[in-house]
C-alpha cells in the first residue's frame, strides 16, 4: 500500500504557511508536523521518496497530495509450530489439505513461507504455508 500525505498551505506575504497535514503512516515522518513553512515540508517529502500526484490552488492557498510506493505488504510469518511439524515430515509422504483439495506426495522442501511436494506423477507442487489447513 502506498503512503499518502495531503498538505494544505495558506498564502502569507512572501511564503506559504502550512495549515494542515494529513495522511497515512505520518509517524515515520518525524518532526515535519512541527514545521510551518510548507515549501520546506514539500522539500522534505521529495527527499523521502514521495512524488507529487495532485495539486490545486485557490485564492487563499494551495493543496498538494503526495504518494510514496512502499511495495506489496509482506505476508505474516508462518506459525512456528506448523513449520516444526512440517520439518519433522521432510522426505516422507504427506497429504496436505488445502481449500482447493488434498495434495499427496513426498515433502522435500520447507522454506520460509512455502513447502514443495513431489507427487507420484513426478509433478512438483508449491504450497504457501499460509494455505495449509492440515497435514496427514
Amino acid at each position: 500500500m502506498p503512503d499518502l500525505v495531503v498538505l494544505r498551505g495558506e498564502y502569507q506575504d512572501d511564503w506559504i504557511e502550512l495549515e494542515s497535514i494529513s495522511g497515512t503512516n505520518l509517524g515515520t515522518l518525524g518532526a515535519i508536523q512541527d514545521r510551518k513553512n510548507m515549501l520546506a515540508v514539500v522539500q522534505y517529502l521529495l527527499g523521502q521518496g514521495y512524488t507529487l500526484s495532485y495539486q490545486s490552488a485557490d485564492d487563499d492557498g494551495v493543496t498538494m497530495t503526495f504518494y510514496r510506493d512502499t511495495g506489496p505488504t509482506p505476508p505474516p510469518p508462518p506459525d512456528d509450530s506448523l513449520i516444526q511439524a512440517l520439518r519433522a515430515r521432510l522426505n516422507t509422504t504427506v497429504t496436505i489439505s488445502t481449500n482447493a483439495g488434498d495434495i499427496t506426495g513426498v515433502l522435500n522442501l520447507v522454506g520460509t513461507d512455502v513447502i514443495r511436494i513431489v507427487e507420484p506423477t513426478g509433478n512438483i507442487v508449491l504450497i504457501p504455508i499460509s494455505q495449509i489447513n492440515g497435514i496427514e
Binding site: 506489496p72 522454506g111 520460509t112 513461507d113 512438483i124 494455505q131
Partner: protein, 66 residues
C-alpha cells in the same frame, strides 16, 4: 527460500494453479513484486494473465509437459 523465489525458479514451465477459487493453467512467464504472469491458450488465441502471489492456494509444475 520464499514462495516467490521458489516459483521464479520454475519460469518457463507449464503450471496449474489455484488462485483464490479460480483454476488456471499455462506457461509461467514471470514472477515479480507479488505478481506472476502466465500465458494461456484455448487453442485459437493466447492471452497473458497476471495473478497475485498472495492469493495462491497452490502451484503445480507439470514436469511431464515442460
Amino acid at each position: 527460500m520464499t514462495f516467490e523465489q521458489l516459483l521464479a525458479s520454475y519460469t518457463g514451465q507449464m503450471i496449474e494453479t489455484v488462485v483464490g477459487t479460480e483454476f488456471y493453467t499455462g506457461r509461467l512467464l514471470s514472477v515479480n513484486n507479488g505478481l506472476f504472469t502466465i500465458s494461456t491458450s484455448d487453442g485459437y488465441s493466447t492471452q497473458q494473465i497476471t495473478l497475485l502471489v498472495s492469493r495462491v492456494v497452490y502451484v503445480r509444475i507439470l514436469t511431464a509437459a515442460a
